[in-house]
Amino acid sequence: MKLTLRIWRQAGPAEPGSMVAYEVPDANPDMSFLELLDVLNERLTLEGGDPVTFDHDCREGICGSCGVVINGQAHGPRALTTTCQLHVRSFSDGDVIDIEPWRSVAFGVLKDLMVDRSGLDRIIQAGGYISAPTGSAPEAHSTPVPKPIADSAFDNATCIGCGACVAACPNGSAMLFTSAKVAHLNSLPQGAPERASRVLNLVEAMDAEGFGGCTNTGECTNACPKGIPMDSIATLNREYLRASLGRK
């Protein structure tokens, strides 16, 4: 397959950037999207050019580091699929593909397609955990959790922190990401003692990072590779109201 990649090139955080076109004449439909970039980078390196910087780690859809915007869509055209799990066969011979970094004031571009997503880490630090004294693991059956609650908590726990929700949101809002933490931890008995303080701290940290607010456009959930639903945002709003009104 012959593809043309138009890629955002930017030498550093404070440098200006622009879209640069590259031809890849020998793309294999069975390659993953990151392998397509690898092939391009090998060639650029051999030619003595500067390879395209992009973030990646697991390449199996679980670490959350690989996100880029492909043709205006975070993680590209396939639903519930990270960039690393996307294949070249999702495109057609002769396609021109635009590849851009996540755009949000809270995610500065470090180089080319790589952005600084540490704002999400600071949100996690503010409340995306339970405080448990370490020691031997408690007997799981001693804390029963109803099946629907366990399922919903698990679904929300599948968030990989990729930031596609922020990238897709017209307001650069991190509500979906933050809501996944609240919907996960606040619904479980282990999270109950910190239920109020967790949501208050998470939202304060989220706002402090400069992320925008939620206008319920639903672009986040559409882009999310893990299918975190809008319902989690309603849950976050409900938990925040409850905590603000002082109910424990």
Binding site: N216, I233, S244
Partner: protein
């Protein structure tokens, strides 16, 4: 105070004030329909509005309390909208060079412009029928004739049509959005809230517009 400073807190203020205005608009729309019972009935109704709460409340006191609450609601709604919108625009300064295909519908997309249009319309509407400054007939107490005199002019009716379409779109996104903001929405209720939002939007737009359109068509004169 932390609540007001947070994005979710401001959004909650928007939802509550929006729903309060919506409640008023439903009653207002239904009251307007009394015009189809004729001049005596409508003018009597307009007069009665000034006597609500009598004899506990003095003449027009209830009306002034309601006006005060509504002005506070409009101001809080608009201030939150302005502050949140500014924040949202700052949070996403760079557009993608490849245009994003929006998943959200037109009603969601137009909330800010529609809201500004509504704010301008509210001022115009008050100058037209409350203060009577812009009203051609403009006789205090002659509500029926004041209404007919305004809507007999085609471009006044056009302004009202445009504003009420904005209102319908605003409510279509806003009502569902408020259910989401206040945490009432659940997957099992989502369709019902969306349906109610569309129902309320159509009901209010049609209910408000039937009056000016009937006047212009000569059905009410």
């Amino acid at each position: 105070m932390n609540f007001w400073r947070s994005t979710i807190g401001k959004k909650t203020v928007m939802a509550v004030t929006g729903l309060l205005m919506l409640l008023f608009l439903i009653v207002h729309m239904l009251g307007n329909l009394k015009i189809f019972f004729g001049r005596t009935d409508f003018d009597h109704y307009a007069h009665w509005l000034r006597t609500i709460g009598n004899p506990v409340l003095h003449e027009s006191w209830y009306l002034w309390i309601q006006r005060f609450v509504l002005v506070v609601a409009v101001v809080l709604h608009a201030v939150s909208a302005y502050q949140l919108s500014r924040r949202d625009l700052k949070a996403r300064p760079t557009k993608y060079s490849h245009h994003q295909r929006a998943k959200a519908g037109y009603a969601t997309h137009i909330m800010r412009y529609g809201g500004i249009t509504l704010a301008l319309f509210i001022v115009y509407h008050i100058l037209d029928f409350t203060t009577l400054t812009l009203n051609r007939h403009g006789v205090d107490g002659a509500a029926y004739d004041n209404v007919v005199s305004s809507f007999s002019v085609w471009w006044v009716t056009v302004i009202y049509i445009a504003a009420m379409i904005c209102l319908g779109l605003h409510i279509q996104h806003g009502f569902w959005s408020a259910a989401q903001t206040l945490g009432y929405n659940r997957p099992s209720r989502d369709r019902a809230f969306k349906g109610m939002a569309t129902g309320l939007a159509v009901l209010l737009t049609a209910g408000f517009l039937i009056v000016p359109v009937s006047v212009l068509a000569g059905l009410v004169d």
